[in-house]
């Protein structure tokens, strides 16, 4: 296997995970980019990816970090900061340039979620719900007229978007959903409710799944649809830089032209988008782990106990070294899979594996960091307790760990 193939850059992109890739993580200079003097690697496969990382990393340090604790306390989305992301052109990373996006890939999206989550996973979750669950999802499901109406205001950040799949009675068992849409003349009448929906309060527009007859269909619902409302925000343990709430449909009238891709097409949209969502959530977990590694390592050198820096104690070394190894494994997996996910490439196995492995890494490394910091880690002075609370969500949202186990096993057995 050539290096380029190994990193998923060949024309033929497989849908399964290849292991034994010797060059992962090393700087590789691709022949076809000889004109650029930059070393390319798995994490920054092109100069544009590297520049994107530098930009979002600087933005995170300068503008995201300082507000994270405050918005966590308030349990609110920092909407003006959110609009800054739009000004930086980050709402349509995966949208082709002809339609006002950047025309980049899943790796680019992963980079942004990774870097933002080093400071504020809660804020990043609102970004994910908007840029991936709405914009990316909608883009690949919509026709030209629909794009004309909804793409511009969501790419510009004027409108906040979200996606409604989960219901009070059906989460993991999403295909059992009970929200219905019945066609009446030029409209669909939608009834039911969705819950735990990120950006429900701030959102202007949502991609919503409902049953038309026995099949799942997708619709765009905006605030102008009569019979549509949202609940008060639901309070939660972490990810408090974003809000979540219910979407309520009471004989809600949705114009028939808001059906995305025909009745019954909803399932395909849902499944395709879940892959990039899971990768982005994995990248968020990785961001949390990176930040916690940095904090605990620095602290272990500064903090003196029994006359020596605590990193000299074997038990502390175990937190640091195990945390590091886990984080590095997660990094390689997430970026490797990101090279093999896209609108035309199905890779449920890869994205489920990435999230199944990476979600606990953020949580465990945050826990290790708290242990290494002792009482300080439990206090709000350090971001560790916030990251610890945020990290847990990734084992639940976008699919629980158990759902990934179920999917992976099903796919592996099916491939026999």
């Amino acid at each position: 296997m050539s290096e380029a193939q190994c990193l998923g850059l060949s024309a033929e992109k497989g849908s399964s995970l290849h292991s034994g890739c010797a060059t992962v993580g090393q700087a590789v200079d691709y022949g076809f980019r000889k004109d650029q003097s930059v070393k390319l690697d798995l994490f920054n496969p092109s100069q544009e990816h590297r520049m994107l990382r530098d930009m979002i990393s600087a933005f995170t340090k300068e503008q995201v970090e300082s507000q994270a604790a405050e918005y966590d306390q308030r349990g609110e989305l920092n909407i003006s900061l959110f609009r800054e992301l739009a000004r930086l052109g980050l709402m349509g990373i995966t949208i082709p340039e002809v339609h006002g996006g950047a025309g980049l890939d899943a790796v680019a999206s992963v980079i942004v979620h990774h870097e933002l989550s080093k400071s504020d996973p809660g804020f990043c979750l609102a970004y994910l719900a908007h840029a991936l669950l709405f914009v990316n999802n909608f883009y690949w499901a919509s026709n030209d007229a629909q794009k004309k109406k909804y793409l511009e205001p969501t790419l510009s950040g004027e409108w906040v978007g979200g996606m409604g799949m989960t219901e009070p009675g059906h989460g993991t068992d999403v295909l059992g959903m009970s929200t219905t849409a019945v066609k009446k003349g030029t409209k669909y009448l939608v009834n039911g409710s969705k819950t735990y929906i990120t950006n429900a309060s701030e959102g202007d527009v949502f991609q919503v799944y409902a049953k038309t007859g026995g099949e799942i269909s997708a619709f765009v619902v905006d605030r102008s649809c009569p019979g549509f409302s949202t609940s008060k925000p639901i309070k939660k343990m972490g990810m408090r830089g974003s809000t979540m709430g219910e979407l309520i449909f009471e004989d809600c009238e949705v114009p028939a032209e808001n059906l995305l891709g025909g009745e019954g097409a909803g399932l395909v949209h849902m499944m395709r988008n879940l892959e990039i969502e899971r990768l982005a959530l994995s990248a968020m977990s990785l961001g949390i782990a990176d930040r916690c590694m940095e904090i605990m390592t620095a602290h272990s050198k500064e903090r003196v106990a029994f006359g020596q820096p605590i990193y000299k104690f074997g038990q502390i070394q175990r937190y640091i070294a195990d945390g590091y190894a886990m984080t590095e494994a997660a990094r390689a997996l997430v970026y490797y899979v990101a090279h093999n996910v896209g609108p035309e490439i199905q890779n449920r196995l890869g994205s489920d594996a990435a999230k199944l492995f990476t979600a606990p890494v953020g949580k465990i490394v945050a826990d290790y960091a708290m242990q290494v910091l002792g009482g300080a880690g439990y206090c709000e002075e350090y971001p560790v307790e916030r990251l610890f609370r945020d990290a847990k969500l990734i084992e639940i949202g976008g699919g629980t760990l158990e759902s990934h186990q179920k999917n992976i096993t099903k796919d592996l057995i099916r491939s026999l």
Binding site: S37, V38, E48, D54, M55, A58, G89, A102, L104
Partner: protein, 262 residues
Amino acid sequence: MKILVTVKRVTDYERKVKIAPDGKSLLTDGMSFVANPFDEIAVEEALRLNKAHGGEVVVVSVGPKDSTQEIRKALAMGAHRGILVTAETVDSDVYARALQQLVEKEQPELVIMGKQNTDDDANQEGQLLAGYLNWPQATFASKEAGLDSADEKAQKPGLVVDNGQLTVVREADGGLEHLSVDLPAIVTTDLRLNQPRFASLPGIMKAKKKKVEEFSLGDLGVDPAPKLTYVAYSEPKERQAGQIVENIDALVDRLRNEAKVI
């Protein structure tokens, strides 16, 4: 107005530099590099002037081939095209002489550069260039309105160009100086002139299509021999831990007899 602006690739000021075993150079392996922060302010100012007066912003870097990264960043911020002058060792004088050749070739009305490069902190490149070109110079450009002012939020330039004249505000001890120079001129930027913008993602995507020309020092007829040799590097002395003294008398005693400061 055509503006030439510099971006030098320098070692990342957030990382600790390591000295090579021979003690005569710095290790670049594993080092990360950034655009000189003062140069980023220069780029930002050039872009603001360009918005107000039109014309062209040309970014120039003198240094290793990898400096294209810093040029690309400035292009992503909005500059129009780039020029890289490849050079191995660059002291202030080689730097200024290379720029002199480019200025003569490009004929800009204004050159904006950082007041110093954070790698050697020499703070003389702009002045040397003004000397070689025999152009007026206004160094340490700052501005009256602060970085949290409405003018700054509206991205208004701090440099004022009017009728072939340029007005520059400089911070001086206890006040501000207002200098007026005839164009063409050299300006070097201080820290509080502006807050550089982030390169937007569309800017990054556009940057790859922008032209970057490349020259060697030889192509420009510049003698590559530096005038400065680095004889030795040494680490700063490690700070001693503080001591807690029992009482004021002990403190006075130590200050007088040990530290010998009173």
